[in-house]
């Protein structure tokens, strides 16, 4: 069996899911026997190359995330929504109850720590926040989801190990479902 390619990416989330990925500890060696990690916040690499499995952490909050997710969808055979933010927007989506201008003003203009000249940054090189935060499945087709904030390391390893051995994991049957 040829070695598979694994990519992980961090969009609108807190990186907690990647911390939990690192918590699989020495079992990363078993993953490394079956797959090369070709793109991840913990390794070098800019654009997502062609991969067998892409773990995508975080919700879609901006134009940049949107473009990146469409790119990942083209590159990945199996796209996995990784963590509550990717699956159901979670904390990232809590700004959806307000309008975007109020959210930005709260952070950059009206915050108590601001001086009087506080203004919302609008440099053209900055990403533009979307009006609403979306879970991955509302932008692209998602092949598998791992809910949890963060998902347990055991759950992450279980899912990776099953996919790397060409089996389809079942979180419900394996009693590994968790939200929050």
């Amino acid at each position: 069996m040829s070695k598979k390619k694994l990519g992980t990416v961090w969009l609108g989330g807190c990186s907690g899911c990647h911390m939990s990925l690192l918590d699989i500890d020495e079992r990363i060696l078993e993953v490394a026997k079956l797959a090369d990690i070709v793109k991840s916040p913990v390794v070098d690499g800019k654009e997502m190359p062609e991969v067998d499995i892409a773990l995508v952490e975080g919700a879609i909050t901006s134009d940049e995330h949107y473009r990146e997710l469409l790119h990942i969808r083209k590159q990945a055979k199996t796209l996995i929504a990784f963590g509550d933010c990717a699956v159901m927007t979670n904390v990232t989506g809590m700004r959806n109850y307000f309008n975007l201008k109020d959210v930005l003003d709260t952070a950059y203009v009206n915050a108590i720590s601001n001086d009087k000249e506080g203004k919302v940054p609008d440099h053209p090189s900055l990403l533009k926040l979307n009006e609403k935060v979306l879970p991955l499945q509302e932008v692209v087709k998602v092949d598998f989801v791992i809910p949890g904030c963060p998902p347990d390391a055991d759950t992450i390893f279980y899912v990776l190990f099953e996919f790397l051995n060409d089996r389809l994991p079942d979180l419900g049957k394996a009693k590994k479902l968790k939200y929050g």
């Binding site: 929504a81 509550d84 699956v87 159901m88 927007t89 979670n90 904390v91 989506g93 809590m94 959806n96 109850y97 307000f98 609403k132 879970p135 499945q137 509302e138 998602v142 989801v145 809910p147 904030c149 979180l171 419900g172 049957k173 009693k175 479902l177 968790k178 939200y179 929050g180």
Partner: protein, 235 residues
């Protein structure tokens, strides 16, 4: 006692005709999912999770509000029922703002447990993200409408058990809300006795005491059922 024969999931039972299908199932260890049911208060069939198939009836009926009848043939866990239970669970999550990771009830929430039971891994419907109020005006308790699923257990427990009728329901459809008195802040209520029964009746993190933080909520809905059992004994 007169009993009548009924069949549930191919199991023949002789049961008390005054009982509901749900009561009979609970007594015979047949699992039925519920959210709005709380033993001791009146069932209203609001959550639609306890739907069962009854032979000879086309539509699904709620087990909590349907009395048993002689020779009734009931099925409680067909593929059709499981499909609807999963849809119902997902709609609960999609309707308001359930963010488990920051919720006081995280890990002890009946809605989370429901999700696990129906094996819900994601929500197939777009979230509504409604703007919901958080009422912190009561000196001890908080009412967070973001986490309310409109089971109305608080309304019924306040009315039927405490006799205060502080809680009620306003509006219809997705604008439906639990209200205190005539939609005034809970802290200004002239009917609330601050007994805390609504807090124990609530299945999610919608009503909770101010003294706790994320994941620390301890609810004991069974104390309400026990209280009602004790009252029956005195009569």
């Amino acid at each position: 006692m007169n009993t009548i024969p009924i069949t549930i999931n191919d199991k023949k039972l002789d049961v008390d005709p005054a009982k509901t299908i749900l009561e009979v199932c609970r007594e015979n260890d047949i699992e039925i999912l519920t959210m709005c049911h709380l033993k001791g208060i009146i069932d209203i069939g609001a959550c639609r999770l306890c739907l069962v198939e009854i032979e000879g009836i086309n539509k699904l009926l709620s087990a909590c509000t349907t009395k048993v009848a002689a020779n009734m043939v009931v099925k409680t866990s067909t593929e059709r029922i499981k499909k609807y239970q999963r849809i119902t669970a997902e709609l609960f999550f999609a309707e308001r703002n359930h963010v488990c990771s920051v919720c006081v009830a995280n890990g002890k929430c009946e809605l989370q447990q429901l999700g696990y039971k129906v094996e819900m891994d994601h929500i197939r419907y777009p979230h509504l993200f409604p703007h919901c109020e958080v009422d912190t005006s009561h000196p001890w308790y908080v009412m967070d409408h973001n986490r309310c699923i409109m089971c109305t257990r608080c309304v019924r427990v306040c009315n039927e058990v405490e006799g205060a009728h502080n809680w009620d329901v306003m509006n219809r459809g997705h604008q439906v809300r639990i209200i205190s008195d005539f939609n005034t802040p809970w802290g200004e209520s002239i009917t609330c006795t601050s007994c805390g029964k609504c807090l124990h009746a609530c299945p999610t993190g919608a009503i909770w005491p101010k003294a706790i933080v994320q994941g620390q909520l301890e609810k004991k809905p069974e104390i309400i059922s026990e209280l009602m059992e004790k009252r029956k004994m005195k009569l």
